[in-house]
Symmetry: C2
């Protein structure tokens, strides 16, 4: 079955299309009804075929010049844009997300591909380092040593449900891996298989134009846990990128660690993104903070990894004004369709669990308007209860937040110490709050990947200085970020060449610097434009 | 009991000395006899105390300026040198290694500390990145984003038996972790506890002079597996550095992965360091290659991670000459004392296992001269046997090597494809060999961390471009190196600051660049000496 949009329901394994097999359908969460066409459920044989093709393509792909990979990434962005409204319409049907949000997400996705392209063109993936030979050194001469980074191998990417474009088939993990020189096998999220197929075909088109071998990209879709397990367990897969639930991420980590050859898993899992309202800021602008907070909380039905799920403040008149304002705004907030029936069900359970764990509901948003609607919810609890009850720290994916009332600044610091690892931590502060902020900062640096002041954690800039990562359970690997150019480093490994003849050296470390890359020469960074003291 | 050298047998837990408890003694492997004094066996309570002190010291230590940490590393080198001959004498007795080798190792250890000091002084640990705010950008402004790297947390370091100085208490892992801003708890290798204590006291002296909190360094010694397990399992330990056996490294990886909060383990485990003798080089200098090979093989009784345990060549007259030369040199090589009775016993078993697996012994070095002597051994096997029999790939720690005879170049490439992950791979080649080398290179890049031409893998330069690492099982994490300045990155994680007021920003990312670090500004590297377009 072929729709006008070009969605066939096929698996895209290299250049082959698999159209036969068990089937599933996407669900329109706003209507609670299935959408055509049927999609093939990938099985173990499909995983093996995609992995074999990826392994076969890897030596060629990783050896492409940075400029060639950059052109490929640019080409993917062009092809995604060429999909036009068909992509937005299909994504909106499959996710319940509004078109404007999806258009913004498409811009971010394409911008990300182009930023990574320019970064690797400038040498950001190779990071070459050269140490000059010292033939006269005593007691032993020093050899000629040259280091560059190469792709780690085929990468399995798990599409996220909540970013059908920016963290799915051609999202951050795929862009990082392709930039690093690694073939990618995407396990598309079953909530948006049509969106996945459209983007997968865009990648294919860019691959064909770039003349790359078919194994550089495959797209497998399916609903079973076994599919993901087979992919992470395949001996040809060298690393994994995942965004999703804590249980799902941990399951993949266990599979990866138990392999005969263990591999790294970059799983982004769970974060409640604490927001600290410091006393002077709260006193001076409680109402504005309440409005900003509820705006961030309810954005996209609260379905962001960086959703502010925890607010910490010291009791008093300022907090009372904040709660009144936030409560009223939450009451006034409409219900919004969630991504899937499963997510909507989990949201309901999560909200109920907060109440059962002792939090007091102080506001609830508009009555449900559809089969999978999220009603925003606001809870409050005393700091002492929070410190005693781990269930109050559990992420509720959706527009629910818990305000923690502290007796004093010392208790606020205690709460900061008690939270688990986070993607973000936020401080709202005035100059008078700086001493308390200075106490909180070192604690939060050890808890979170990104620390914000006077802003809201939703909205993650794609740039060089971004960290979208953080200590466990925010991610499985705090040494990295999944957003921004630093994300490419996750899929690289260093290789050193000792006394290799010039004719055999890879271009990134050759004499004369033919690729014009910035290189670290004897410990000093030499820009591409400078004359390198040649060896 | 206190020796004249200052060795007491105590555990050094922060500033406390633990002198009571179950005891063990070092063994002089050359005599097969125990050496005084007795050393305390660390237990779970000692681990907990050291970990608590490390966690307490971490916020202070990680916040020290790079220059302060650099001065501390320089101070450790100075204190180690001040130990004088007492250190060399004790290390020689505990390891059976000759004084000259240990003097060289001490120079390397101190040079490594000083190189790391200069590297972090120049900003190599912080790696700051700044993206300028774009308040006018549409549809959304860009915030002010600044990234730096901070220490990951307290690091557990397992001393290696074969480098009692350079990979032990103040060795590469300790130097990397301290440079990164991480407190260190060393589990000293039980084969050289006196050497460990002397170096531990040197670190303590440098700490006192630097005014650092006691928890920055502790030294635990002991012989039990439980000690290492308790250390890796302690919730306050954030990362692990290990050099040792494959079984030991894998056990630690399993413990780390099973923790409620999993942590990274950098285990360097097993490598046979294949050396490819290409036809023209073999033809032109078989005898010189044989001499160089046996020199590298028997160096330090073959007890190097980079020992050439596998030689691959194509059958013919050149190989016959090489085997004749190498065989004669091995026959003429004296036996040498190994590090421990356990290692000597394992060497004997490993050599026997090679023979049982079908390798033909063609030469054996001088008769045993002591209780723990290593007799060099040379084996040969056909490539077809090697490809069929995994046991022929097992590392034999010591001066044993296996020559693989290939029918042709294609079979040589097949052998290259079949080897496991390695620390090094070596090519001996002439210009006429370049086409075959060009075929082997991409295969070897995926197998090894370092590729050498016309040299021998033993001898690892400490510099910026070194990679001492490689795919599994050479290490548990191919994304890193344990030698050279890049090793510091293993113990860092990035943190991003969004719109943080200038007054609260850490110095590494402050306006005006007060630490004079090279920084990536809007994607361009700005040297410390350049004027940064201020924000």
């Amino acid at each position: 079955m072929i729709e006008a949009t070009g969605i066939t329901g096929a698996l895209l394994i290299g250049s082959r299309e698999v159209t036969e097999g068990p089937a599933f359908r996407a669900v329109d969460p706003a209507r609670g009804a299935e959408i055509e066409p049927a999609f093939v459920e990938a099985g173990p044989a499909d995983v093996a075929e995609a992995a074999a093709l990826a392994a076969q393509a890897f030596p060629f792909y990783r050896a492409t010049a940075p400029a060639a990979r950059a052109a490929f990434l640019d080409g993917i962005a062009t092809e995604i844009e060429a999909l036009g409204d068909a992509l937005i319409e299909r994504a909106a049907r499959e996710t319940g997300l509004p078109a404007a949000r999806l258009q913004g997400e498409r811009a971010r996705t394409c911008g990300q591909l182009r930023l990574f392209a320019s970064w690797i063109r400038d040498g950001g993936a190779d990071e070459p380092r050269l140490d000059s030979p010292l033939p006269e050194r005593t007691p032993l001469p020093r050899a000629d040593l040259r280091l560059r980074h190469i792709g780690i191998g085929p990468v399995a990417v798990f599409g996220a449900s909540n970013f059908p474009l920016a963290f799915s088939v051609a999202g951050g993990d795929t862009a990082s891996a392709l930039a690093a020189g690694c073939p990618v096998i995407v396990k598309g999220h079953p909530a948006h298989p049509g969106t996945s197929e459209l983007v997968g075909r865009a990648i294919r088109a860019a691959m064909a134009k770039a003349g790359l071998p078919e194994g550089v990209f495959s797209l497998l879709t399916g609903t079973s846990h076994e599919l993901g397990g087979a992919l992470v367990g395949d001996p040809r897969v060298a690393a994994v990128g995942f965004t999703g639930s804590r249980a799902g991420g941990l399951a993949l980590c266990r599979i990866a660690a138990a392999r005969p050859v263990p591999i790294p898993v970059y799983a982004e899992m769970s974060s409640i993104n604490p927001v600290f309202l410091l006393p002077a800021a709260l006193e001076s602008r409680a109402e504005a903070l309440a409005a900003g907070f509820v705006g961030s909380l309810t954005l996209g039905a609260g379905q962001f990894c960086t959703n502010p799920g925890l607010v910490i403040a010291i009791e008093g008149e300022g907090l009372a004004r904040f709660l009144a304002g936030a409560g009223a705004a939450v009451e006034a907030a409409p219900a919004a369709t969630m991504l899937t029936p499963g997510i909507a069900g989990a949201y309901g359970k999560g909200v109920a669990a907060l109440a059962e764990a002792g939090a007091t509901e102080i506001a609830r948003g508009g009555a449900e308007t559809g089969p999978n609607a999220c009603r925003p919810a606001l809870f409050v609890a005393e700091a002492a209860s929070f410190l005693a009850e781990p269930a109050l720290s559990h992420e509720v994916f959706g527009a629910s937040s818990l305000v923690i009332r502290c007796r004093d600044a010392a208790e606020m610091v205690q709460v900061a110490r008690a939270v688990e690892g986070q993607l973000t931590a936020t401080l709202h502060l005035d100059v008078a709050d700086h001493p308390l902020a200075a106490q909180l900062l070192p604690v939060l640096e050890e808890k979170a990947g990104r620390i914000l002041a006077n802003g809201w954690p939703t909205g993650v800039e794609v740039c060089h200085a971004m960290v979208h990562g953080g200590p466990f359970p925010a991610t499985s690997d705090p040494r990295s970020t999944s957003v921004g150019t630093l994300a490419i480093r996750r899929f690289l490994r260093p290789v050193c060449y000792q006394d290799l003849p010039e004719a055999l050296l890879p271009a990134a470390v050759k004499g004369g610097n033919p690729l014009r890359l910035p290189r670290l020469l004897d410990g000093k960074m030499i820009a591409a434009t400078e004359t390198e003291a040649e060896k």
